[in-house]
């Protein structure tokens, strides 16, 4: 198998991630923060290790301001549904994933004003339009990097616009974390992350990191339940992280995430980015050389998260994907990649694209095989 779907879930994982998950399952096992036995304390220790590791990775000095969720979709929903109600205004970009557009559509049905701020055909926000649209907005939710094109937004500029308007800034780093700098220093009030993509952790991990000066009391909890604290009270605790974390934590997953971030830090983000960019550029350039191919990516030299979305003239994206999977056992994504809004923006709606997303462990030989497969399909 040639795995070129790292923008969905990265694979393979570093051995130390697999070992950490396995160690938790074999040797710890208990529920974090539930009970007083050694195993429960060890489990809680893993969760705190992960809180410290994630906080540090995203530039927070306060691990208690890091909250874990099932994934980034749940994290984004926590903020959107927890903060917005009838009469509020929210701004997003025209490159968002369904993790944003679907909850916003639901909120729109409930009387929230939703504004999609326009982007150009490479996916970059029109900052003048954003400035206009931001007036009166309670919240802005912006996709740091597109899962369709790999376009990286100018987050510092977005942050300045948010600050000037008193708007809370939620930054979705699903595609950028572990690839390009994506921390709080860029100016967001809240970061929503996932563990299973660029961070190299396992599915079922994700969460929110709040800036120190952000008041999380603004966010009503999506779910309420057991936290291991204030158990005599029927009301959800009002402090972080318990306010937004109910039910048994994903101990094995968080153990894996600690190991994954350790692994990334041991290589260094600059090196990770350089490796991914080199391999993705080889892939994109090779596809661009095929007759009738169009690759949708930012201009050379601009930040890019190693996502190669393309179309071939006179054929459909499912046909390409089916051929790659069936004849060459190549994993890719076709269609809209859960981001139809982005495809409308870049002009690939309704056909969509085929997305090849190499990862940290993708080899040049694998890229050559993938390129040859696309050439053979083209005939």
């Amino acid at each position: 198998m040639i795995y070129l779907d790292n923008a969905s879930t990265s694979w393979p994982k570093p051995d130390k991630v697999v070992d950490a998950v396995s160690n938790y399952m074999k040797n710890i096992g208990a529920s974090p923060a539930r009970g007083n036995c050694t195993a429960a304390m060890d489990a809680l220790g893993v969760v705190l290790d992960c809180r410290e590791s994630v906080a540090s990775f995203f530039g927070s000095n306060n691990p208690i301001n890091t909250v874990f969720t099932h994934n980034v979709t749940w994290a984004i929903n926590t903020v959107l549904h927890g903060m917005l109600s009838e009469g509020d205004k929210v701004v997003c970009s025209a490159m968002e994933h369904n993790a944003v557009t679907r909850p916003l559509t639901d909120l729109s049905d409930k009387g929230v004003e939703v504004v999609y701020s326009p982007c150009d055909t490479q996916g970059y926000l029109d900052l003048d339009a954003l400035e206009m649209n931001m007036r009166g907005a309670k919240l802005a939710v912006i996709n740091h990097a597109s899962n369709v094109t790999g376009t990286v937004q100018d987050v510092e500029a977005v942050s300045r616009i948010c600050r000037a308007n008193g708007t809370v800034f939620l930054l979705d780093v699903a595609q950028s974390a572990g690839v390009v700098p994506s921390g709080l220093s860029l100016g967001a009030d809240i970061i929503a992350f996932t563990g299973h993509k660029g961070l190299l952790g396992v599915p079922g991990t994700g969460g929110l990191v709040f800036a120190d000066n952000f008041n999380a009391q603004q966010i009503h909890s999506l779910a309420q339940g057991g936290t291991g604290s204030l158990s005599e009270q029927s009301r959800q605790p009002d402090f972080l992280p318990d306010r937004l974390e109910s039910g048994t934590m994903n101990g094995p997953g968080l153990a894996g995430l600690v190991a994954a971030i350790d692994y990334l830090n041991s290589i260094g983000l600059d090196e990770v980015y350089a490796r991914k960019l080199a391999i993705a550029d080889k892939l994109a350039t090779g596809i661009e050389d095929i007759a009738g191919a169009t690759v949708y990516r930012p201009d050379s030299g601009r930040p890019w998260t190693a996502v190669v979305s393309f179309t071939l003239a006179d054929t459909t994206t499912p046909d390409i994907a089916d051929y790659l999977a069936r004849e060459h056992n190549i994993c890719c994504r076709h269609g809209f990649q859960c981001a139809a809004v982005a495809h409308r923006t870049i002009g690939t709606f309704p056909g969509g694209t085929v997305r090849l997303s190499p990862g940290l462990f993708t080899t040049e030989a694998e890229v050559e095989i993938a390129l040859e497969a696309v050439r053979m399909f083209r005939g």
Partner: protein, 85 residues
């Protein structure tokens, strides 16, 4: 003077964070179930020798981990006197 102090924190995350902070500062303490006499909560708190209490509090407060309450404990059961909130 009581033998030990119980440090009651908001959450288990706060408790373990405080315990780690204290240990890094060379202060010996133990995580123990919160005694029923103090709270009906099923969580944990930190037990620290009374003479180490001020150093413990200094260390955790520096990390923004102020306990909700501090209870004195003498002998087999806690002497329930809340002097810090």
């Amino acid at each position: 003077m009581a033998d030990h102090l119980y440090m009651i924190f908001k959450s288990m995350t706060h408790v373990l964070s405080a315990e780690r902070t204290a240990r890094k500062s060379g202060i010996f303490c133990r995580m123990v179930p919160i005694p029923r006499e103090i709270s009906t909560d099923c969580g944990m708190c930190i037990s620290v020798k009374t003479q180490d209490g001020p150093a413990f509090l200094d260390a955790v407060k520096e990390k923004g981990l102020e306990p909700e309450r501090v209870e004195e404990h003498e002998g087999s059961g806690p002497k329930s006197r809340c002097y810090y909130s």
